[in-house]
Structures are given as structure tokens and as C-alpha cells.
């Protein structure tokens, strides 16, 4: 592009400055004009880059939400269909006649549950719970940390969600207080967790999703949960962490729902 603008039979084109302009070729002007041309092109490139950065902002704040909400809706729909077709649960029944629970995590990218947070009803309501903790799964809903307990099981059931962009499900994580409920549905069970406390840690504080957070190597005896997201809201230099414990569980049959869903 920059080659245009050199001599065209004694005339010089200065792109971006009103088209073709005639200059006397033998004056001291050409040097200045060449400089003006270069500065003009550099300026246009910089403006273009600025526009690209603004577009990226639009992509992050608006477009990723659009894509992510569509994905989550599709996944939740598929999951509900699978469940009503009898797929997606643990096989068989326990000794008490109740359906068995999922104790082994599915393969990555499999949605196996729905998450409800009554306090964050506008965003976290029937949100797919997807195995894996990369951006792919986070875009689809709540991401289940591999290697952590399955919902309702003894140990630490840990999941992550976006605080901003890609649906921004946990944008209002700071509105939650101890005592709020986090409800997880698998095909055959509802699990109700109560939030206990939160903290803010570094992104490298992997211990927060340990079976017993703060006690490395300890054998878990309780069913607890961890939920992480980023902090501060428009940055990602820290992680906001909520811990909770399992309050109760109930079989998901005949449209039965936990009362805690109401609020």
C-alpha cells in the first residue's frame, strides 16, 4: 500500500489527504511531503488498531455473552431431554430403593448437572454443570474441577464460573452471603448446599479445592463444595472463593423439588 504515492510523472499522491495533489518536484517540499505521507499512514494504522481494541472490548462484553448464553441454553435443553429419556444417571438403585448417585466424573465436556443459585436467579438458574475447567467448559455454564468430588459426595465438590464475559454467571458473587443456597441437580438427585464463608486468594491457591481445604492430605468426612470465580470483577488477579456444605439431598422424581429453590 505504501508504494503508491511516489512519483507519478512529476506528481505526488498523498493518500488520505484529499486525493491527488500536484507538487513541484524540484522544490524542498518532497522530503516534507514524504514525511507527511509516512506519518499519515502510521496514523491510520494506529487508528485502525484502536478500533480493533474497541471491537475486542465489544466482543468480550457483549458477543461472548450472546454465544455463551446460547450454548448454555442448548446444553441445558439436551440434558433435560436426555434425562427424560432415562439417560445420564447412575445405573441402578441403592439398597434403600432410591436411585444410585453419580460418583465418578464423566469425560471432559460432558454436561451432567444443572446449577441453581436462588440469590442469583437471573443468571444461575438451570445452568449446565460441565466436566472440565478450561475456557471451553466455562463458556457453557459452570465448570466442574476435574479430580474433585461429584455433587453430593463426601469430599469437595468444586466448580468455577465466569464473573465477567461469557455469560458472566457469577458477576454478582459479592451479593451472596453465608446461608445462601446453591442447588445442584443431577438426573436422579437434587443436592442443596449452604454457603458458609468466602475468601479471596491468588490464582495459584489450588488448595481451595482440596478435599479438606487448608488441610493437605486430610481424608474428607464431610460433603462440602467450593465455587470459584475471578476478582476483582473486571480483572483476574485474584480468585473469589465460596465454601459451603451439603445441607440435604432428595431424589429428583415426580417433579419433586427442594424447597430451598424458592429462595
Amino acid at each position: 500500500m505504501g508504494c503508491e504515492g511516489y512519483r507519478v510523472s512529476g506528481r505526488r499522491r498523498v493518500p488520505g489527504y484529499g486525493g491527488e495533489v500536484t507538487f513541484p518536484t524540484a522544490s524542498p517540499a518532497p522530503r516534507r511531503q514524504r514525511l507527511a505521507f509516512v506519518v499519515g499512514v502510521v496514523g491510520e494504522i494506529l487508528i485502525t488498531l484502536g478500533v480493533v481494541v474497541l471491537l475486542f472490548l465489544g466482543y468480550q462484553i457483549w458477543w461472548t455473552d450472546v454465544v455463551s448464553n446460547r450454548l448454555a441454553g442448548q446444553l441445558a435443553g439436551q440434558l433435560t431431554t436426555e434425562w427424560s429419556d432415562g439417560r445420564g444417571g447412575a445405573p441402578g438403585f441403592g439398597p434403600n430403593g432410591l436411585p444410585a448417585e453419580l460418583t465418578v466424573a464423566p469425560t471432559d465436556n460432558t454436561a451432567f448437572g444443572l446449577v441453581y443459585i436462588p440469590k442469583l436467579r437471573s443468571k444461575v438458574w438451570g445452568l449446565p454443570l460441565v466436566q472440565g475447567d478450561t475456557l471451553t467448559q466455562l463458556a457453557e455454564g459452570m465448570a466442574h474441577y476435574p479430580g474433585t468430588a461429584m455433587p453430593g459426595q463426601v469430599g469437595n465438590f468444586a466448580m468455577a464460573g465466569h464473573r465477567m464475559t461469557h455469560g458472566a454467571r457469577l458477576s454478582n458473587v459479592d451479593h451472596l452471603v453465608a446461608g445462601d443456597y446453591v442447588v445442584v441437580r443431577t438426573k436422579d438427585w437434587w443436592y442443596v448446599y449452604v454457603l458458609d464463608r468466602h475468601t479471596i486468594v491468588s490464582p495459584y491457591d489450588w488448595w481451595v479445592v482440596d478435599p479438606v481445604p487448608g488441610k493437605p492430605g486430610a481424608k474428607p468426612t464431610q460433603a462440602i463444595m467450593t465455587m470459584t470465580t475471578c476478582n476483582p470483577r473486571w480483572q483476574a488477579i485474584e480468585r473469589w472463593v465460596w465454601w459451603g456444605h451439603l445441607k440435604n439431598k432428595l431424589p429428583a422424581r415426580g417433579g419433586l423439588q427442594p424447597a430451598e429453590l424458592a429462595g
Binding site: 493518500p15 471491537l55 475456557l135 464473573r163 465477567m164 481451595v208 470465580t229 483476574a236
Partner: protein
Amino acid sequence: MYGWLWRRLPGPTLLRIGLLAVGAFAVVAVLFLVVFPWAEPRLPFNHVTVSTSSSPSPGG
């Protein structure tokens, strides 16, 4: 650069504006569907999970 582009486009002003609009739309589409999704995981803005590795795993 844009002046050059404008002069290279054929046809009357209205057609040129139309062509530029189509071109701009195509560029934005490529950015949104290809470039930005590629660039995003490489940028540090959007990470929510915790990890032990030297680079924090993503989230947001």
C-alpha cells in the same frame, strides 16, 4: 492507506460506500469469529479458576 483504498474502488461514490460497508462487515466478522476467539485464551483478562501450574488456568 484508506485514501488509496478509496481511489482503488471502482464505481460511483454510492457503490464505493457499499463496498466499504461490506468489506468492514467482513473484517469485523473475521475478527469476532476467528481472531478474537483465538486471542482470548492468550490474554490474561478472563481467568477464574485456581491452579498449580505456572500459568493460572482460565475462568472469569
